[in-house]
């Protein structure tokens, strides 16, 4: 072997640098493709949530209403996607700092920014359709659209067996493409005023998805009224059993499956336009998270909620609702809870679940599936619990002293805002629909069964009557 000349050595070094640059570029491409695939996979997982809600509320319906409950839920999904595309996505990016939509410090918010990326026309249309240079917008939009569909599904179960189809769809659109989106912009965005001013932290959307949807449903239920036969003249309540408890319980379990996708989609991964880091996961606030943290805590939350509800009720419906309550009660801090603490909080949520539902029922509210309690009350419980246990944790990525920290008062303020974001539009819009006779079906139709009125098919042909024409 001859001695390498300086020229040879330089050429070798140049080749090595080129190889390193190629490897670096390849890594970046891999990261982008990973991010795109990651969010893409959350979408079918979250559709399982919708399948779960579908089974759950059809099972909770009586035989005469089973298909109409399903049709309502399916339509909610169908209308949620385009309306979220038309304007919901724009609302999320436009208003994190509040009204009138000024830009925030992170530079990814405000009316001008939303106009540039979230309308399906003009220059911004390039980010709202197939684009070889944009691997992020579609999958991120898809994940958010499925969050929107989840809120509508939460409300859907509460109002079964007496609501008009079109009135329900209008309510679903207001909830899924506006009300929760406002809450998300304010409390689930790096520029959200609840985050930057109050240190609100709601990683898994206990407040901004679940509580908003639960209390939106409460506002609707007040105007909708109870099902015929639910309450006696003296105000005592009757239990109206659904036609298929096993279907309901399996539906609830499917929702738990879908929750893995939901919470996975709450993680910001490296490699897309809005990533906080090039080499690690973060929450939507830029604070650290790992999928291992989620794995530990979701499993412990499901277990704690089931055990708490089993102790109090022995009822499989409430046990699986307890599983949901376990996740929701800890969702705000699934990134930073210790698993055993998660279990304890989820257990406490399972314990109080049925009592909270009974309290509401004793006030004349007919929530057919306990959605107000499971998602609304327990959602706020979760937001406030994090204020107790997580105080002092930085709520945003940044240097000490420059970023807000999680605190009890901030979480209470967040809980109040989330409550109002749900309850006020739910009550007002359902009140208007009631004025126009678009909210509740006529008494005769309710007594006959809504399948006979709305659905030209039979759920169980051997058992039921003639379908609608």
């Amino acid at each position: 072997m001859g001695v390498k000349t300086v020229e040879d050595q330089i050429a070798e070094l140049v080749a090595q640098v080129a190889a390193l640059e190629a490897a670096s570029g390849g890594g970046s491409v891999t990261n982008t493709m990973f991010a795109e695939t990651f969010y893409y996979l959350t979408i079918p997982l979250m559709i399982i949530i919708h399948a779960g809600f579908l089974a759950y509320e059809m099972g909770a319906s009586r035989l005469k209403n089973v298909l109409s409950s399903g049709v309502k839920n399916i339509l909610a999904f169908a209308f949620m996607i385009p309306t979220f595309y038309f304007f919901g996505w724009w609302v999320y990016w436009g208003f994190p700092t509040g009204i009138p939509g000024a830009p925030g410090p992170a530079g990814i918010s405000g009316i001008e920014y939303a106009n540039a990326i979230a309308w399906g026309w003009g220059e911004s249309a390039q980010y709202m359709g197939p684009n070889i240079a944009d691997n992020a917008s579609g999958v991120f939009f898809g994940a958010f659209a499925l969050f929107a569909a989840t809120t509508a599904s939460i409300m859907s179960g509460a109002v079964i067996e007496r609501i008009q189809t079109v009135g329900f769809i209008i309510l679903a659109v207001v909830l899924g493409s506006f009300a929760w989106v406002v809450a998300a912009a304010w409390g689930w965005h790096a520029d959200g005023w609840l985050v930057t001013k109050w240190g609100v932290h709601d990683f898994g959307a206990a407040g901004l998805v679940h509580a908003v949807a639960g209390f939106f449903a409460l506002g609707v239920l007040i105007n909708l009224g109870p099902r015929i036969g639910k309450f006696n003249a003296d105000g005592t309540a009757n239990h109206i059993a659904g036609h298929n408890m096993p279907l309901t319980v399996v539906g609830l379990m499917l929702i738990i499956v879908g929750f893995w996708g939901f919470l996975m989609a709450c993680v910001i991964v490296p490699g897309e336009g809005w990533s906080w880091f090039g080499d690690k996961f973060s929450t939507i606030y830029g604070t650290p998270i790992t999928l291992s943290a989620l794995s530990f805590n979701i499993l412990m939350a499901v277990a704690g909620g089931i055990i708490g509800a089993w102790l109090m009720t022995r009822d499989p419906f409430w046990m699986m609702s307890g599983a949901l309550a376990g996740i929701i009660s800890t969702a705000s801090g699934l990134d930073i809870y210790f698993p055993a603490l998660t279990f304890i909080i989820a257990f406490s949520a399972g314990l109080i679940l049925k009592m909270c539902a009974d309290w509401l029922e004793n006030r004349g509210i007919d929530d057919a599936v306990g959605a107000v309690t499971v998602h609304g009350t327990i959602g706020l419980y979760g937001v406030i619990m994090l204020g107790i246990w997580g105080s002092g944790f930085p709520a945003l990525q940044g240097a000490a002293g420059e970023v807000p920290t999680i605190n009890f008062i901030g979480q209470v303020v967040g809980a109040i805002v989330f409550f109002l974001c749900g309850f006020v539009p739910g009550y007002v819009v359902s009140y208007i629909l009631k004025m126009f006779d678009m909210l509740r079906v006529r008494e005769g139709a309710e007594l006959a069964g809504m399948d006979a009125v709305k659905v030209p098919a039979d759920g169980y042909p051997e058992w039921s009557g003639t379908p609608a024409e």
Partner: protein, 56 residues
């Protein structure tokens, strides 16, 4: 509750859960385990009582 002196995530390179590096996680684990045992005892008692009602 933040387990590090400086309230910034940039100083965190290990455990990031509440009350890390204290005895609290162990206490939480013990409480969780006790809850499981107590619930099983309560469940056994009430189920036995209800089952006895069906004795002839």
């Amino acid at each position: 509750m933040f387990p590090y002196e400086e309230a910034s995530w940039s100083v965190v390179d290990g455990p990031m859960y509440m009350l890390a590096n204290t005895s609290a996680p162990g206490v939480f684990t013990l409480i969780a385990a006790i809850i499981c045992v107590v619930v099983l005892i309560a469940g056994q008692r009430t189920e036995t009582e209800k089952a006895k009602r069906f004795d002839k």
